[in-house]
Symmetry: C2
Subunit: 155 residues, 2 copies
DNA sequence: TCTAAGTCTATAATTATTCTAATATGAATA
DNA sequence: TATTCATATTAGAATAATTATAGACTTAGA
């Protein structure tokens, strides 16, 4: 925490630890809910403040992959992300990126580069083909988890 | 408009025409303001509906490059975008993209791929070096246009 | 023209995020 | 250790983008 140039308060440590243990790229709200159990006095504004401070210090990164809410990644190094429009899960993706901070493109100085992919994740593809087979014999059920909203929007 | 499978209402035509003539990637609010002059009865909800319909029909694309508001691009073909954190302008960028819709990455089916770049645009770099020289001789002035909010946030 | 389906308008509601002002805490100093 | 100052936290209100709702209005096709 000190390496980031931040005063190491208990709130910051708790939030950072939560992100360290939850690589699901939670929203600020999800961080707030997840941390409330072990730290009920934590205010939601503090979650926003802490996430912002950590982001600005380079300890985490913020993802604007979905319009509804920002998501936070414990890993501050740039790497592509994949958002499933069925289940809403957000995955890290391993791909080489041709653009680096410091590059100039069309005269514009690049400081941050984000690659966001949208589609159907491996698990939901599998589920959807299972559902199709099921529907030949019995009543089907939705393959979509309702963990997050259902139509996580591709732009 | 019919090619998109949409009922060609006057509202849809006016919004689409506005985007055709304004390649600045406006927000829904900016579309609304820009169209009000020639069509004062247009409701803001209609702007959202129309933009959503056009997006779903594949006539335009929605960009979630900034957390504050979605932006809309008359060109529905995927291509990288650059957001300047000084002036807030959003630029199209010409870069080959290695990922195509239909690709599978780590088992995930990619339908849409977005590349978002954040930094300082060519014009603002120039302006900032001008300001530095100015400040040696006289009182400086901010180089930042206030056209949009000033700290268009990189994630 | 008549009708059903789809669209538009105005307004209210929702939701993520930011602001504000008071309080509390951490770091530096006497 | 007591004091001080800057910074952080809290709770709640405020803001702003977006979505939902309900009724009026168009559009396309018979």
């Amino acid at each position: 925490m000190r390496k980031l140039g931040l005063v190491p308060t208990i709130q910051r440590l708790v939030v950072l630890e939560f992100l360290e243990n939850n690589h699901t790229h939670p929203t600020a709200e999800e961080v707030y809910q997840g941390v409330r159990n072990q730290f009920p006095s934590l205010a939601k504004a503090t979650v926003y403040n802490v996430l912002d401070a950590l982001k600005k210090a380079g300890g985490i990164q913020e993802l604007t992959i979905a319009r509804e809410a920002a998501r936070y990644d414990y890993n501050p190094d740039p790497h592509p992300h994949f958002l499933c429009r069925i289940c809403g899960n957000l995955y890290d993706v391993d791909l080489p990126c041709s653009i680096r901070p410091g590059d100039k493109i069309g005269g514009h100085l690049v400081e941050v580069a984000q690659v966001y992919l949208y589609g159907i994740c491996a698990q939901c593809q599998k589920q959807s083909s299972l559902d199709k087979n099921e529907s030949k014999t019995g009543p089907g059920r939705s393959s979509a988890s309702t963990k997050r909203r259902n139509d996580a929007g591709a732009p």
